[in-house]
């Protein structure tokens, strides 16, 4: 199969953009910007570079740049945490199923397949609904919205990442060196941790990037459906909040949309690059 050698330019751009987002997420508070939920009533729907608003404001007067910076923290944070949690739980279950086989495998795989029978957004939507108490004013009591999202997304990611971990672990378990390890007297649990997990890890890491991208998209979709983070807090909810004014002033909607698109592109590129690098190395094995 011909592998597309991506030009390094794409790699540089992706890394650059992702680093920028990460910096914004981490150092955001230090920037001399108005708070993301500060409404500047004198400057509603302001265009770029007005009165200290670098990217302008939205129809409520909230500064777009600081919204993006704050959104970076929320969106990337949700994405990072849920992918990490999903990888750990899913990875553990998947590898366990692959190595133990028998009924453990049957149960875990059935759980994975059943969960995957429902499209991601739909399942996440239901999960979010379960964890938030209904109030007709749209807000929710109980757990903070972001935590609800993280939990729901993690639960939804576990089957996907788990199936991948399982199939990777299965193919590694079939390799001779696993049998060799048994023949030199290694205990099964030791074989799992020393031989199988380190080999499954790279594949999972490359999928993690892709999954992070998916999470950001799902978060955006959820926001549009009304189930995202607090309005304006994340990129997705910024988009959703301003979407109702789309026909009047499309700009505040397009800005977070563009940021989401760029970030997902960068994550996909990264994940793909990683995957081709791993495939190359492993095809030599």
């Amino acid at each position: 199969m011909a592998k597309q050698r991506r030009r390094p330019l794409g790699l540089i751009l992706s890394t650059g953009w992702l680093s920028l987002c990460l910096l914004a997420a981490v150092l955001g508070d230090l920037l001399p910007l108005p708070a993301w939920n500060d409404f500047d009533f004198d400057n509603l729907s302001a265009p770029i570079f007005t009165n200290g608003h670098w990217l302008g404001t939205d129809p409520d007067g909230a500064d777009l740049l600081s919204g993006l910076v704050h959104g970076a923290r929320v969106s990337l944070g949700i994405s990072f945490v849920s992918v990490l949690a999903g990888s750990i739980i899913g990875g553990f279950l998947g590898v366990l199923a692959a190595y133990r086989r028998g009924w453990i495998d049957a149960v875990i795989t059935m759980y994975f397949n059943v969960s995957l029978a429902i499209p991601i957004i739909v399942l996440t939507l239901v999960m979010v609904a379960i964890f938030s108490t209904p109030k007709f004013d749209g807000s929710s009591g109980g757990l903070p919205r972001e935590m609800i999202l993280v939990i729901s997304l993690t639960l939804v990611l576990v089957p996907i990442l788990g199936l991948l971990a399982r199939s990777s672990a299965l193919s590694w378990s079939g390799r001779d060196f696993v049998m060799v390890a048994e023949s030199i007297g290694m205990k099964k649990r030791a074989i799992l941790w020393t031989h199988i997990v380190p080999n499954v890890l790279p594949a999972m890491m490359s999928i993690a990037f892709l999954a992070a991208g998916i999470v950001i998209v799902v978060e955006g979709g959820l926001a549009i459906l009304g189930a995202g983070a607090a309005p304006g807090a994340s990129w997705g909810s910024m988009l959703a909040k301003n979407q109702s004014y789309f026909t009047i002033d499309a700009y505040p909607t397009l800005v977070p949309a563009a940021v989401i698109a760029l970030t997902v592109m960068a994550l996909n590129y990264f994940g793909d690059y990683f995957r081709t690098a791993i495939d190359d190395r492993e095809s030599r094995i």
């Binding site: 049998m179 060799v180 390890a181 023949s183």
Partner: protein, 329 residues
């Protein structure tokens, strides 16, 4: 052919490995059962190299793995130095395994791509806590030297940086780390270039002499096996055809399958005449082996008796046993 029996067993003090009535079968999709090894018995004496020869699919690899209980046979006994491996509980089996080591066919797949060579060869020592770290490192260097690899050059490299032959050397070094008393080699040179094959075969012979090993050498290639073995056992579709010394088997094969195998060995002599009728037909499936003698569907000398009655191994010449109703004379 293909029958079973115990006439070829020696039952003396020199027997190190004694396999009795081994049966290995496994399920494949659709409710079918592959009868890989069907009630075979054989033995190996101390210091001997037993070669197990046959086509792919005859069950020899399964047999090799079953000796190590990987996985354990469905029934039968495997008695190594007096201990019945099939009856051992898990923990004791684990430690019993250290006395028998195996070298696998695919040199590269046998090595964990994430580990360095030093880690791979030293792993058995590490698992069993043999000696301090310094001791282990010294031992690893010694092993690498023995197999003809320069420790400095290979210790910190990974398997995918080496050729097939070198990987096989690494595998052999690792298998000798625990100083086993028996080595099972499953097609150790089949995946290698012809020029490298000789080197590895010589290496194995050296190691056998140096460590006083008993060997079981599994191969489909009679040419390879001739130089290294003291005794040859020919298998077909899960049963034994013929057992004997290399000289006897090569000069006077009594089983039709053995002679067909020998004939297929390329010999650079255009004037050589073929002495046997070439094999006809396709090998039957191990899921539904023929009744009676399993070789009868491809045998030029098959009769009704061959379908009705499974031939047992019997002595047809000093130390040569064959399972056939109508052996060649």
């Amino acid at each position: 052919m293909a029958g079973s029996g115990t006439a070829h067993l020696r039952n003396n003090d020199e027997v190190v490995l004694d396999v009795r009535d081994m049966v290995v079968e496994f399920r494949v999709g659709g409710g079918l059962v592959v009868k890989a090894v069907s009630k075979i018995s054989f033995d190996v004496c101390r210091g001997e190299t037993l070669a197990i020869v046959g086509e792919s699919g005859c069950g020899k690899t399964t047999l090799g793995k079953a000796i190590l209980q990987l996985p354990p046979p469905n029934s039968g006994d495997v008695i190594f130095e007096g201990t019945n491996l099939t009856k051992l509980p898990k923990e004791q089996l684990r430690s019993a395994r250290t006395a028998i080591q195996m070298v696998f066919q695919d040199p590269i797949s046998s090595l964990d791509p994430r580990m360095t060579v030093g880690e791979i060869v030293g792993e058995p020592l590490w698992i069993w806590g043999r000696g301090s770290e310094a001791d282990r490192e010294a031992k690893v260097r010694e092993l690498l030297n023995n197999v003809g690899l320069e420790p400095e050059l290979v210790l910190n490299r990974r398997s995918y940086e080496f050729s097939g032959g070198q990987c096989q050397r690494i595998s052999i070094a690792r298998s000798l780390a625990l100083e086993p008393r028996m080595l099972i080699c499953d097609e150790p040179v089949s995946a290698l270039d012809v020029s490298i094959q000789a080197q590895i075969l010589n290496l194995l012979q050296d190691m056998k002499d140096r460590y006083g090993l008993t060997m079981v050498f599994i191969s489909h290639d009679l040419a390879v096996v001739k130089a290294v073995s003291n005794r040859i056992m020919v298998m077909y579709l899960g049963k034994i055809c013929e057992v004997g010394s290399p000289d006897a088997i090569y000069s006077k094969p009594t089983h039709h399958y053995t002679s067909a195998l020998l004939d297929s060995v390329p010999v650079p002599d255009p004037t050589r005449k073929r002495t046997a009728v070439p094999l006809q037909g396709e090998p039957p499936s191990p899921v539904a082996p023929p009744s009676g003698c399993r070789f009868r569907t491809r045998c030029p000398a098959a009769t009704e008796k061959c379908a009705a009655e499974e031939p047992q191994l019997r002595e047809v010449a000093p130390d040569q046993f064959v399972a056939c109703h109508h052996p060649r004379s």
